[in-house]
């Protein structure tokens, strides 16, 4: 499949998952991610895979837990309210050191919210979402091509670090159609000697578990996991910089907000304002380095978000409040226009040096 095909973002995720060797998908219907389930329902039976519509999001994530414990690549997908329900299972997956890929095509909240795009699950995704000290690796695609690329990457990361990986997409990128190339080098999944696949009477039993009643043991378990997180932060952080070298006003945005921001940067440059954009691709681990560097030379940073201001906290931490960081946002399913962002850039430029 070297040629490009025109596809919806959600379908690109599904096809990429299959290419990555995922043959076990468990889901529950919710807008706006249903195309993933529909695609899997069509394809899986034809390639010897399993598509199963679970009785709830809770059951679906636990089916992923079981399949992953049994050593296969498994995934589930949902949208915001469904991710809240999956959070229990995600915490157990993290606590049991199991790989899993979870897609969140975010919609507006809180509560039932709406069905239009949003980025308001940033805190939930980057801080863990469920109970206990843990993280997921969180990938934020900004195009249909990246929906595919990052899905394949997600399965590799999940297996390598034995942890849940979330693709934090939004309704827009899930629904929109763009050309995608599926010309990927697929790495084989690593051996999983820890998997519960039956002892074959050849080894002591494997136990997949997150219960540690001895507090010293549980503490050590947490310490060990966070050691792994440090390695991930060092090796797996991803971001893209756009015109930041000489930028005076730096935008911070991911996903669909980054695409709109890019247009605003170009418009500002036409007006002679030196604007730039840092686009985190992983939001956990958060790319601190480019923001720390930008704070050396820019006069302010604007966090452009489809939320009431969630990523802005990480941006402020990354630049250690050395420059003012302001918010440019829309919520509830609304998306900022390039002009709204351009206005924010103009205001920042006036108030600057």
């Amino acid at each position: 499949m070297a040629d490009k095909v025109l596809m919806k973002g959600n379908e690109a995720i599904a096809e990429a998952a299959i290419m990555a060797g995922c043959r076990h998908y468990f889901g529950y219907p919710i807008t706006p991610q249903t195309e993933i389930a529909a695609y899997m329902a069509k394809r899986m039976p034809k390639i010897g895979g399993t598509f199963l519509q679970a009785e709830s999001e809770i059951a679906a994530i636990n089916m992923v837990y079981g399949a992953s414990a049994a050593g296969v690549r498994a995934m589930t997908s949902s949208s915001s309210p469904g991710i809240s329900l999956k959070s229990e299972g995600i915490s157990y997956i993290a606590g049991s050191d199991l790989p899993a890929v979870i897609v969140n095509a975010q919609r507006g909240g809180p509560g039932l919210g709406g069905i239009q795009p949003s980025q308001s699950d940033y805190f939930q995704a980057t801080r863990g979402g469920g109970h206990g000290d843990y993280h997921m690796i969180v990938l934020t695609p900004a195009s249909v091509q990246e929906m595919a690329e990052l899905t394949i990457h997600a399965f590799d990361l999940a297996d390598e670090y034995r942890m849940p990986v979330m693709i934090l997409a939004d309704g827009t990128i899930g629904q929109m159609m763009e050309p995608v190339s599926f010309d990927f080098d697929i790495k084989p999944a690593p051996e999983k000697p820890w998997a519960t696949v039956g002892t074959g009477m050849k080894r002591p039993h494997n136990v997949v578990n997150s219960l540690y009643l001895n507090p010293a043991e549980l503490e050590q378990n947490n310490f060990d996991r966070f050691k792994r997180y440090e390695i991930i932060a060092e090796k797996e952080t991803m971001y893209e910089e756009f015109m930041t070298d000489d930028a005076d006003i730096v935008l911070a945005a991911f996903g669909i907000a980054a695409r709109v921001s890019r247009n605003a940067v170009l418009a500002a440059r036409k007006e002679g304002i030196k604007a730039g954009l840092i686009r985190p691709i992983t939001v956990w681990p958060f790319p601190k380095a480019p923001f720390a560097k930008a704070a050396d030379h820019c006069s302010s940073i604007i966090s452009v978000e489809l939320s009431m201001g969630q990523m802005i906290e990480d941006v402020k931490l990354a630049c250690e409040c050395r420059v003012p960081v302001t918010l440019c946002n829309r919520v509830g399913g609304m998306i900022p226009t390039p002009n709204q962002i351009l206005d924010a850039i103009r205001a920042a430029a006036k108030g600057g040096k």
């Binding site: 809770i58 059951a59 636990n62 079981g66 399949a67 219960l211």
Partner: protein
């Protein structure tokens, strides 16, 4: 000549269960069946949250610890990953009949080819004796100190009867382990529930009425009697569904 020995599929460590608790007997029955069917090497067990939470330490086959009530969903994932695994869950009444009702009902409805060992002792044991979905009317517990009042909290759930209304499941039976004769019958039912899975017949659940002397506030002996006098009248023993036997009888 060996007269009596520990089943191979039971790990040789002390169990944490209280004196007089019948979990130990039921663990042993499950392990004996696993040995007799020669499935220890392919078996994957799912432990619950509740008194049997540490069952993963006791069974020698590969084991998974589940979130509260979710064992049938996890078992589904394991079984779908590789149908050659012999997958069983071991769940208590709070786990299966309260917080995990959706998971058990839909695993049964799908006729998921798994084996479920359901321990009904009419109480939450691990947390110290609270009212369970299966606590009897009038039963005094920490959270029903004046006795379970059906006006306030409804009636106890009969799981076998409820699931028997579904088209899906293959085999549903209720047994107990309060006498030698009943232990033998319980083992037969558990063996059938595993054999059904090996034969690809589908969802099999054995409900075992179990004693909790500690939280019932009884001696072990009295607790075994209470199963006869209080539990069995509300939870009659017997086979509630046996699809293969029914279709053979029809033929």
């Amino acid at each position: 000549m060996t007269i009596f020995e520990k089943p191979h599929s039971l790990v040789d460590i002390p169990l944490h269960y209280c004196p007089g608790c019948t979990h130990g007997i039921i663990h042993r029955l499950v392990a004996e069946v696993i040995d007799e069917l020669g499935i220890e090497g392919t078996a994957v067990g799912i432990a619950p949250v509740g008194c049997a939470v540490m069952a993963y330490d006791y069974f020698a086959c590969d084991m998974i610890e589940a979130a509260h009530g979710r064992a049938p969903a996890i078992a589904t994932g394991v079984k779908r990953a590789d149908p050659s695994h012999i997958v069983f869950t071991y769940q208590g009444d709070g786990d299966l009949a309260s917080i995990g009702t959706a998971e058990i009902v839909h695993a049964a409805a799908r006729n998921e080819n798994i084996t479920v060992i359901f321990i009904n002792n009419a109480i939450y044991g691990m947390t110290g004796g609270q009212m369970a979905p299966t606590s009897l009317v009038g039963q005094v517990t920490q959270t029903s100190p004046y006795g379970r009042d059906p006006k306030l909290c409804g009636y106890p759930v009969r799981v076998c009867e409820m699931l028997s209304e579904l088209e899906g499941p293959e085999y549903l039976a209720r047994v107990t382990v309060n006498s030698v004769a009943n232990v033998r019958k319980a083992k037969k039912a558990i063996k059938k529930a595993f054999q059904n899975q090996i034969d690809g017949k589908g969802f099999s659940l054995v409900e075992v009425l179990s004693a909790c002397p500690t939280n019932w506030g009884m001696t072990p002996e009295k607790a075994l009697e209470w199963i006869d006098t209080a539990m069995i009248p509300y939870y009659p023993l017997g086979v509630y569904k046996d699809r293969s036997a029914e279709s053979e009888a029809k033929a």
